[in-house]
Every structure is written in C-alpha cells, then in structure tokens.
C-alpha cells in the first residue's frame, strides 16, 4: 500500500520536478543595459554607499534598477531572493552575507568572477577569511565590498566626560561605567531587541569571556563540548549582567534607532558593528571628538567580521554578463573599496590600501583587521552568518533571543544552545 502510494507519487512528481528545474525556462533579460540589484541597504550610510556603486555604473552607461527589501538584517531580502530564484527569475546581482554565497554557488546559480579576479589579483589583495566566503571550489563567485567588524562599542563622548568615565579597559570597568550612567538617569546600553542584534551583543560577550580560541571552538567549529561548557555558562552570566543596563523598551527596536539613543545623549554605549558609525557621521558628528569608538573590552586582540558580498546570477544574456563583470570590477577596485567604506563606515576588504583617507575609528579598525588577519584572529561573526550556515545561525538566535526575553538560567541556556545547534546540523 505504502509502496504503491510512493510509486504513484514519484511517477507524478519526478517528471514535474524535471520540468521545473529544466533550463528551458530561462529568465527573460532584465532590460536594456540595466542591472537589477537586490539589497537591503536602506538606511542612511548604507544607501549612500550603494549610491556610489550606482553612480560608477552610470559612468559606464549602465542603468540601475534598485530592488531594496527592507527589514530583518536581510532576512526579508533573502526570502525575496529565494522566491525569485525558485521562480526562475533571478535579479542581475544580489547583496548577500556569509554562507549564502556558498549555498547559491553549490546550486550552480552563480556566474564565475575568475577572469575579473585574476585581472585584479584578488587572490593576493583580499585576506584569507574573506576568500573563504567569496570563493567556492577555488573559483571566485562573489565580490567582497568591505570588512565590517562587530566587536565595537560606540559611546557618547559628552556623557563620558560629564560622568568622568574613562574608556574601559576591562569587562569590570565596562560594567561600572554603565552603572554610572544608569545612576545618573541615563540608559547604560542602547539596545535593539531583534534576534540578530541579540546575537551580535552575545558574540561580543563570548569573545570577551572565552577569548579567540574559545570563540572559534564554540561558534565556528560548533564543538558541543564548548557550547555546553562552563565558559559558555559564564558568558551567559555576563550577558545577563550586561542586559540589566538596557532600557525596558528595547524589544523590536531597529539598530539605528538604538544608535540614535547614543547620538541624542539618551544612552552611554551601543555594542554594534561599525555600520553604526555611519549614523554618527550622518548626524554630523566627529569621531574621537563627539563620539568614541573602541573594541568591546576583552576583545581587543581579535576582530569578528562580516563582509557584504555581491553575487551575480547566471545569465544567458551577453549584455547582462558584461554588465556583471563591470560591476565586479568596480567593486574590487581600490578606489571604490575606499569610497564605499568611507560612506558605509566599514574598512576596505582589500588589505593593500593606505588608511589615511579613513576616519579615526576606521583607521584603527583597518589596522586591527590587518593585524588580526596576520595573527589568525580575524574570525567570522556568528550573528551575521560568517561563523556557521543559516540553519545553525538561526538556531543560535532562537536560544539567545529567548534568553534575552525571559529569565532562562545560564546553564539551561548553554545546554539548550548545544542541543539546538546539534539539531540544526542533523
């Protein structure tokens, strides 16, 4: 009975499947010299940085059809991308993060960028950890825009001066300074309660608590023993300690609204990737004068990164292919890498450039990233899908967010974390 059922089902489904996946239904060309680029760069600095790409393409006579999908740190955009690909209607290119590029490459959906890469000597100028994500089976399949690092603290300088707070060098000092701000009636930590933001702060705590080796074992190698270890429990304890300095109204808050709290003098710190700097610069503030940037105490020697990648989808249309190559060339070029990072608040993904054009924070960040690449402590960020694939990342989000939004004990959290990571990998 069951066998018969299966057979009938297979007989019906398999031909359909073959029909569905056949390339007979190649997508239509997107138009006359126009690229369609899916992205979720909708906030001030991001949008400006993307505008730089649009302008450069316009100089080459290439039109720009923007396809922004706001919200959810790209979650919504990836949803749209998936349904576009499922419906055989891919955009020219898409901004993706982390393992997504590899996944699409495994699906054989991407154009190879090898010729552009070898012409631009990409193997030499981009650091290994970036190449790990931008190359698949030895072929370049993505153009890296920049290096963002997630272990930054952004601070309101005038509040620090007013309360006599020095830049904290240790976790204890860090906590004490937030206590001071809270006692003075401010919010210690500007916090956005969305799963990816919860995870961003959490990975900072893990790195600060366990150090680079522990971070690698737990977050990248996903070692069950590290995930359910005393160090992890201590990380959760510290995370809980940190969370008491956020305000009650944080759930659901966008990251840039949290940044605005620091800018407006409502909050002392925000732990966030360096894209937050764009918000400060947009508000007309100067680094080191109006606001401070420093590595999260305890994580000074390592850099957890993420890097936006532009992937290009396979296309039968020669014109589209040429435009894809042009776009990749532009993204990899030294001038664009510099301009883009200046606008977006990141540092160039190429490590062969001079930092002098960057602002004070980015200059430091650029040197730190280079040093970390040398000493093998430039590590992927879990919160942004550079440590583990999406299914594991989201399982981690589940636990971390539940921890933030409940009074889950640390040992339970660690145990659950090990369990869901295992489940997601099964």
């Amino acid at each position: 009975m069951t066998i018969m059922f299966n057979k009938c089902l297979m007989a019906g489904v398999i031909p359909l499947a073959i029909a569905l996946s056949s390339t007979a239904f190649a997508q239509e060309s997107t138009g006359k010299g126009e690229v369609e680029v899916l992205n979720w760069w909708t906030s001030g600095g991001e949008a400006k940085a993307l505008g730089a790409l649009k302008d450069q393409l316009a100089d080459d006579g290439i039109g720009w059809q923007n396809m922004p999908v706001a919200g959810g740190a790209g979650t919504n955009a990836m949803a749209v991308l998936r349904s576009r690909i499922t419906s055989n209607n891919p955009p020219t290119a898409a901004q993706v993060l982390g393992y997504d590029a590899q996944d699409w490459a495994d699906r054989d959906a991407l154009s190879s960028l090898d010729d552009v890469a070898s012409a631009g000597n990409w193997d030499e100028v981009f650091p290994q950890p970036i190449q790990h994500f931008a190359k698949s089976d030895g072929h370049w399949i993505a153009a890296p825009f920049e290096i963002h690092s997630t272990n930054w603290v952004w601070a309101n300088k005038s509040m620090m001066d007013e309360l006599g707070i020095q830049q904290p060098g240790s976790w204890e000092e860090f906590m004490a300074s937030m206590k001071k701000a809270q006692d003075a009636g401010h919010t210690g930590l500007a916090y956005g309660g969305q799963p990816w933001q919860d995870a961003t702060v959490f990975e900072n705590v893990v790195l600060a608590t366990g150090g680079a080796d522990f971070y690698r074992r737990a977050m990248i190698d996903l070692d069950p023993e590290a995930l359910d270890s005393d160090t992890m429990i201590r990380s959760f304890d510290r995370f809980r300690e940190l969370l008491q300095y956020k305000d009650d109204n944080s759930p659901g808050r966008d990251w840039n609204l949290a940044t605005a709290m620091v800018i407006n003098g409502d909050a002392l710190y925000q732990i966030m990737g360096d894209w937050a700097k764009g918000e400060f610069l947009n508000a007309g503030l100067e680094p080191e004068q109006d606001f401070m940037c420093f590595r999260t105490p305890g994580t000074q020697d390592a850099v957890t990164f993420n890097s936006d990648l532009m992937i290009m989808f396979k296309n039968d249309n020669d014109q589209q292919q040429a435009m894809q190559r042009t776009m990749a060339e532009i993204i990899g070029s030294p001038e664009f890498q510099m301009t883009f990072s200046q606008l977006k608040g990141s540092v160039p993904a190429r490590t062969d450039l001079l930092a002098d054009k960057l602002d004070a924070c980015a200059q430091r960040g650029y040197e730190q990233a280079k040093a970390a690449a040398e000493s093998d402590t430039l590590m992927g960020s879990m919160a942004h899908g550079y440590a583990a694939p999406a299914s594991v990342k989201n399982a981690v989000f589940d636990i971390v967010s539940s921890f933030v939004n409940s009074d889950m004990p640390s040992d339970v959290a660690a145990e659950q974390l090990a369990m869901v990571v295992q489940g997601a990998r099964s």
Binding site: W41, T42, G44, N66, V69, A70
Partner: protein
Amino acid sequence: MSAGATVARRNTLGRALLYAVLAVFAILYLMPLYVMLVTSFKPLEEIHQGNMLALPDTWTFAPWREAWGSACIGLECSGVHGYFFNSIKIVVPAVLISGLLGAFNGYVLTKWRFRGHKIVFGLILFSCFIPFQIILLPMARVLGILHIANSTTGLVLVHIVYGIGFTTLFFRNFYESFPDELVRAAKLDGAGFFTIFFRILLPASVPIIVVTIIWQFTNVWNDFLFGVSFTSGDSAPITVALNNLVNSSTGVKAYNVNMAAAMVAAVPTLIVYILAGKYFLRGLMSGSVKG
C-alpha cells in the same frame, strides 16, 4: 423578525445602559482609526510630546504628501503611490474574473446538477480553508514557468485561483434558494444555458454580486502573504510597500508618515465598507453566507 424586538420592553434605565454599553464599544472600536488619523496630521515633534489622543495643535498635510509621493522605501523615495496603483491593477481583474467564474460555478452546481456535483463543490470549497503556506513554494515555481513571477499579472492569477472557492460558495448558496420552477419553465420554453443565466438569474443576483465584490475586494486588497512571497520592488502591492516603509527607518521613525501611508492603504476598503457595508450585511443576513 427580530428576536430582540420581540423581547424588548420599555425600560428607560435599561435602555440608557444599553446605549451606554454600545457607545463604549463604538468608541473602543473607533479608537485605533482615530489615533491613526490624528497622528497622520501631526508634525513629528508633536507626536514625541506625548498625548496620542489629542487633536493636532498644528494640522499638517505634509505626512500625507510625503507618504504618497516622497517617502523613502529603501533608496526609492517616491512614496507609496506606485504601489497603490499596483494594488488597483491587481484587484480589478482578480475580483471580476473570480466573481464571474464563481457565478457560473454556483449556477451549474445548483441548476444544472450532475452526478458528483457535491464532491466537486466540496473540493472547490475546501480550497477556501487551506493554509496558504502549503502552496507558497510550488506557486513560486509555477509563476516562474509562466513568466509572470514578480509581476502584478502573477498576483492576479494567484488571487483568481484562491478566490474561486469563496465566490463559488457565495453564488451557490444564493442560487440554491432561487426558485427552480422559474429555471424549469425557461428550459421548457427552449431557453439555453446562457440565456437562462443572463436573462433570469443574473438580474436577480445583485445582492450576492455586491457581497462577492466586497469580500473579494477586501481580501485581495489586503493580501500580504502572496504579495510578499511573489513580488518585490516595483511590482509589490500596497500592503508590502507599507510594511517595507514602516520597517525602513533612517534614524528617526516618521510615525506620522507611517500612519498616513497606512491610511492610504486603508482608504479604498474603508470607503467600500462605508458605502456598501449595508448591502454586505443584508447579503450576509439573507443567509447567503453560511461561513
């Protein structure tokens, strides 16, 4: 005959209490709409000052102008008006075609019955109730094959297909109570299938046509799941655009613009309900909609 009318007795205190309760509920029900409206006419500073119930000190149409024409959804700063027209482009054909199909189906299933008509009706009707999650993945694929992915045409097809269940239900239940004698007499007079439909049934169908149009219009206009799953960018309907607008913040949340955009998305269905709601209820009450 109203049950209450039979029961009701004169009792002044009771009546006053009754009206008071009804009024309180009416205020509760109107509150969110009221708040949306006044917020959409306030400048941003006034919103941050606090009282959301207060009327604006200074009335401004700027949020509406911005929502309609210049609010940024991502990099595109041209407001929601394009998406508004997308929704219209989707709604009109989807409602008309699914309504027409439903009318024919209802007609066949009541006046031209054949063996197995109940099973056919049951199968069609069940499609009203399926969780649409189950068709999202294959639908995306099929839209791609038909070359109408990410287009308003694609959404029209989707809404027709999944609207047939309801329109068939409405018309079938309505025609069920339409006297068979009239149809039989017409058949004896030699009138054909279409003649009977267009000459006899359709002219008597105004109430159910109104119900169907209102129902389908609201459903299609307010759809979000299909819109967000099958379209993006320029071809998205207004609900998707509204969600994107609300979620793309640039440091400051422009609540007044969000509310104005929400009102823009709400106005067409609101107007339909206010103008034709009476007929909708009358249709409901004549028992044409069983659920």
